[in-house]
Symmetry: none
Subunit: 209 residues, 4 copies
Amino acid sequence: MAEKTQQTEDLIKETAMRLFFQKGHINATTQEIADEAGVNRALIHYYFRSRDLLFEKVLHETLGATREKIDYIFSSQDTLYNKISRFIDIFIDQNIDYPYLENFLVTEMVKNPDKVKELHPVEEKREKLRRILEEQIQEEIASGRIEPISIEHFMVNLMSLCNYPLIAKPMVQNFFGYDEVGYKKFLLERRNVVLQTMFKQPNFSENIK
Amino acid sequence: MAEKTQQTEDLIKETAMRLFFQKGHINATTQEIADEAGVNRALIHYYFRSRDLLFEKVLHETLGATREKIDYIFSSQDTLYNKISRFIDIFIDQNIDYPYLENFLVTEMVKNPDKVKELHPVEEKREKLRRILEEQIQEEIASGRIEPISIEHFMVNLMSLCNYPLIAKPMVQNFFGYDEVGYKKFLLERRNVVLQTMFKQPNFSENIK
Amino acid sequence: MAEKTQQTEDLIKETAMRLFFQKGHINATTQEIADEAGVNRALIHYYFRSRDLLFEKVLHETLGATREKIDYIFSSQDTLYNKISRFIDIFIDQNIDYPYLENFLVTEMVKNPDKVKELHPVEEKREKLRRILEEQIQEEIASGRIEPISIEHFMVNLMSLCNYPLIAKPMVQNFFGYDEVGYKKFLLERRNVVLQTMFKQPNFSENIK
Amino acid sequence: MAEKTQQTEDLIKETAMRLFFQKGHINATTQEIADEAGVNRALIHYYFRSRDLLFEKVLHETLGATREKIDYIFSSQDTLYNKISRFIDIFIDQNIDYPYLENFLVTEMVKNPDKVKELHPVEEKREKLRRILEEQIQEEIASGRIEPISIEHFMVNLMSLCNYPLIAKPMVQNFFGYDEVGYKKFLLERRNVVLQTMFKQPNFSENIK
DNA sequence: AATGAATGAGGCTTCATTCAT
DNA sequence: TATGAATGAAGCCTCATTCAT
């Protein structure tokens, strides 16, 4: 019984998720979601009270997994180079699953800057990550593997190089005449491109130090 | 009478532009536009037929100037380094004027990928620009001033590094605790950062060759 | 099992009664009733078919006791003065238990005048009561203890003087600044006031005649 | 132009008023109001923003006239007897126009006691009226024209005797078998009945004193 | 007997757009 | 040219009721 319930609730969530972040239909109507899920529209309110709450839930659950992975990566003991490398993979993977997620995030933050805060790690945690990164960046600069750069610009570079091609997918596709296959191939090449752009030479292991 | 007319039509356009791209209120209602402009709502339809047409007109006019400048830059005889340098300036300037424009473009393209085409230079023109760029990039690679890279990734890198910080302004602000002044300062630093990230060494003049 | 059933059915009825006529929440939702009773909403339909039927049942049961008492009083052999005196007591007592009942009755009758009939004694019985009262009123008039008045106005006077202060409780409270205690005290004074208003002099016993 | 507008706005208001307070359909839907008025439902929102605001406006306007008259009467220099006499007339007149108004007021006050305050004269004004009345009542008691009674009970008596027959119209009709004509006749008799019930002897002029 | 799930009807409101002047 | 009035489509939400165990 509980299973059946959970099934339907999940069905609605997954349908909404698909519409919102996979098909990019961010304004999908409750009716559309219900139709797509093959349930009565009122059921959406039965389970989630309102469209907004459904959206929020879907968003947070969709973000959750990725956020955790990223935190984990940057908190680890790996070299900066490896961290970045893994970060890029995560980002690209996520985008292949939810092609419209990053786009939405960026748009939404512009509309409701206050909500940005809810989506970011808490102050304390962020500060800790920052210190770790800062130190690693200084090391890389000292070792000549990257050009002198502030942590802010380094991180914005990283996010830019990873994120923008995802966010601007249609633009990229149109510009270079990529079909879905071509675009995906292009995306997969990004990992090395980003690394090469950010590092003059790789650093696979701490031991090199 | 014609003057009065033009005045009102322009007033509406400018008001809409301000709401859409300066204040970021992309979903501004016809009523809101009318109120802000101090005119009757029906006038919007009188001059522009529909909200969509008004929007489109405003968008194209807003983009127009910048697009032309950029085309001009890349068609010129300058070094790649200088072109990129000037391109960055244009981009940042535009963003300071219309902080929500790039964000909108990226979002909209995702919703209506077909419209992307209207916003890009026609095939023929683009092809010509591409050849010019390709050649210049090969030269820079040959001279060792940039790492080997395809034109696609080079351009996407460029657009990423320029565009993302503009699109994701609230994210950047929140992440690094920038107020408006701090963010603007950060933006102005981007020019050199982008250049340093993309070029191992500058090339100010063709003569060096 | 039957006991358990009866328990639940009664629980629902009592809860509804409390919500409807003690808390004055006449529009209480099936969900609210269910929540308050701590049972599943569907049970209400299981036991009572529909919200309307539940309401009706609760109403009739709530009215039942009082109606019987009043019929009994007026059918008795007492003097008119004593009957009225006892009637007032009953009315005020009922109101202290169900402060919103009279208010609802009056409102509902206005909406569905047809339903009024169900709530009143049957024709035959009423006619009998009427004859008794008519005779007693004529006697009181003849004896000079009340001013000449038709039975209709006499009865409407009685019901008005008793009922209105109950129905319009919030108005009275607000008008004279009564809190709950003050209002109750005021109500208790009503008995004598009503009697004095309707009778020039009391008549405690038939023997006086 | 302004006339046409006013016409429609008034049409809606009057239609709503008729439905609410003449036909007693207090829960009339915006759709029903629109249909009855022969206009588009959205027009109701165009003129009144929301159903609630329409209702409030209609209520206040409907009450307005009567309230003013009553205030005027009690503030005048007339004898208490005459004031009461005129008060009754006003009340009965109002009820013939809006048979469901008093009923609604009483019901609504029970639901939202806080709103009662908005509908009553302000503290200050009420206090003044109270002093005037208090004095006049004392005079009447002293002169033996009314039995000793507190101002609170006197006023509640008055309002009860006037109001209840209006509020409980269907009950009265059903109880005594009155049709519309019979009920109206009954109402018109109330004036003298109320006066006789409240005063042992009339007092038409101050001069008598 | 009891329940969670599901449904359909109906209500309010907003909005872009059109009409009549 | 300009405007207030009017419209129809569409969206969200609530509720009583029924269904399937």
